[in-house]
């Protein structure tokens, strides 16, 4: 008998690298020997508009591969808030960007607002906000063994962006540790 599947959504605005982040996350779970189903929804523009990428993780191929009840949710833009409102589990962890999400979701779930985009900007490129948020999610959610995300990022990132991505990972982990310390 398989355990219940885990459903993770990375959402925001088109061009924020959400599908890429989901592919990286899916690769991490694959290396863990899990089965993943990764889907996405986006608008026919290269930048802007609602974009979301879901990862459903289980021990067997799931009957239905799309997310229906989220355990983890990342929101990097206000435009993505509405799309997930009715499918967040009460025990879910929701991470929102402090700058771009002005009216976060309210519910019984835990919502944490953190400066992913500001931290990426400080590193020199807003576009690594996805990696900052992914690192925070994995650390705060205790989703994967330490080092696995970095292993996959190292394998996938273009060489000239590797340092930037590694810095983004460190920034994300740092945000998670500080949040954890604050919560205690």
């Amino acid at each position: 008998m398989s355990t219940r599947q885990t459903e993770i959504r990375l959402s925001g605005s088109g061009g924020q690298g959400l599908i890429l982040s989901a592919r990286i996350l899916a690769e991490c779970f694959l290396r863990q020997g899990r089965k993943v189903a990764q889907s996405q929804s986006y608008e026919p523009t290269s930048r802007g508009g609602l974009s979301r990428a879901d990862v459903v993780v289980s021990d067997d191929i799931p009957d239905y591969p799309l997310a229906t009840a989220l355990d983890y949710l990342v929101v990097l833009d206000q435009c993505a808030v509405e799309a997930s409102r009715d499918m967040i589990r009460d025990d879910a962890l929701v991470l929102v960007d402090a700058e771009r999400v002005t009216e976060p979701l309210k519910g019984r779930f835990r919502t944490v607002s953190l400066p992913f985009i500001a931290r990426a900007r400080a590193l020199g490129n807003e576009r690594v906000a996805n990696i900052v948020a992914l690192a925070t999610l994995i650390e705060l959610g205790d989703l994967l063994p330490e080092g696995l995300l970095e292993e996959v990022v190292r394998a996938r990132a273009p060489r000239r962006y590797l340092e930037l991505n590694l810095d983004a990972l460190a920034a994300g982990r740092e945000l998670a540790r500080r949040e954890r310390a604050d919560a205690q």
């Binding site: 690769e27 694959l30 993943v36 189903a37 009957d63 239905y64 229906t68």
Partner: protein, 379 residues
């Protein structure tokens, strides 16, 4: 790609890998969302195996190029979405009439017209069957998972080559863009299927001969057989005819070759059908939702089952009738205004309540919606 290790693979990528594994040597296409990744992977991979990739000037030309390449001996394919599938219909009819083996992938998006390019749909179910004018043989396959896209692309090539007919792979956007963990296997020669080439005497050769199995041996270009191919109704010699008795004979052979080979064409999946009083019939992502709904219904003590046509056209009607033997209600969830339901009504409607569950808003039918229909049927 031959791997025993699991990989994460996108549906469209799996389609391209399946095509190459099946020995595809020619791809002509005009990239269109949500099928573009197929063209992208074919452009990259096909030259590595000695194949040819051509980005044509439009959808019509790409279907013409595929038909021509097929007549020239290549294992040929193209991929498109609804708007392009509409444009391909005339040449798809030509390929059916000339009996040019080829695979046409339609990754369905919201329509009509250019509709919703990035949103899923299943609204080409009837276009796949009736989109081109005239009575013509049609095979359409509707996979419901990434591993099935791979396997069914290989089977599509096999059926196309063995039966000398176009085969349509009807994929919804969700399955085309879904990434799943899969383990691929390399098909053997038998799985790839071979074309029936003309052999023996060139004297008196008939390129559209009426044979026992309904499939005329195809002249390989360069082998010296005298051959003529046309979209006009043609006799066994390949030249146009309008003589009623000859037309009836050759058209019955053309349409009959599909019926004659239902043993290798028909394919379906049954989940808990034996004692099912409520049967769900669905394809693609709607079938995945239905499987989840049926499992949940069973856990609540409701005798529900799922019948999933893998080969959609010709509809596997005998298998559907067996699956519905105990069913009082048949539920048909689909991402369109009601297309598959028409065929289900035709095949299973007698004495049963057939209920559609439709979505036309660019969202997949959710398991909860199907479960609700099952519970309503139970009450």
């Amino acid at each position: 790609m031959n791997t025993q290790t699991p990989v994460n693979l996108q549906g469209n990528h799996a389609c391209a890998l399946g095509a190459i594994a099946a020995g595809c040597t020619f791809y002509a296409g005009y990239p269109i969302t949500p099928s573009s990744e197929i063209a992208e992977h074919m452009a990259r991979e096909l030259p590595k195996v000695g194949g040819v990739f051509i980005q044509m000037e439009d959808e019509i030309a790409s279907m013409a190029a595929v038909t021509g390449a097929s007549m020239g001996g290549a294992r040929a394919m193209t991929a498109t979405s609804g708007p392009g599938f509409s444009l391909k219909q005339e040449n798809l009819g030509l390929a059916a009439m000339m009996e040019a083996p080829c695979v046409v992938v339609d990754v369905m998006r919201g329509g009509p017209s250019t509709g919703m390019p990035t949103r899923p749909s299943q609204s080409d179910v009837m276009q796949a069957r009736w989109g081109s004018h005239g009575d013509r043989p049609v095979i359409a396959i509707a996979p419901a998972s990434v591993p099935e896209v791979y396997a069914e692309t290989i089977r599509a090539f096999s059926l196309a080559e063995r039966l000398r007919t176009p085969v349509i792979l009807l994929v919804d956007e969700v399955i085309g863009h879904l990434v799943e963990t899969v383990t691929l296997h390399e098909p053997d020669e038998a799985e790839k299927g071979a074309r029936k080439w003309a052999e023996g005497s060139r004297e008196g050769f008939l390129p559209y001969a009426i044979t026992e199995d309904g499939i005329p041996p195809m002249p390989r270009p360069g082998d010296g057989y005298r051959a003529h191919a046309t979209g006009l109704t043609h006799g066994e010699n390949g030249f146009p005819t309008q003589k009623p008795e000859e037309v009836a004979r050759v058209m019955n052979r053309l349409l009959g070759k599909i019926e004659k080979h239902r043993d290798i064409i028909d394919k379906w999946e049954c989940v808990d059908c034996e004692d099912a009083e409520i049967l769900v019939v669905a394809i693609g992502i709607s079938a995945r939702a239905a499987r989840a709904a049926v499992r949940e219904a069973r856990s609540r003590g409701i005798p529900a089952g799922l019948f999933r046509p893998i080969t959609l056209w010709p509809f596997p009607e005998e298998a559907a009738k067996r699956a519905a033997a105990n069913a009082r209600t048949v539920i048909v969830p689909e991402m369109n205004a009601g297309q598959l339901v028409l065929e289900v009504e035709r095949v299973l409607g007698c004495g049963r309540n057939v209920r559609p569950v439709n979505r036309i808003d660019g969202e997949p039918v959710a398991p909860a919606e199907i479960l609700q229909a099952i519970e309503e049927a139970k009450a």
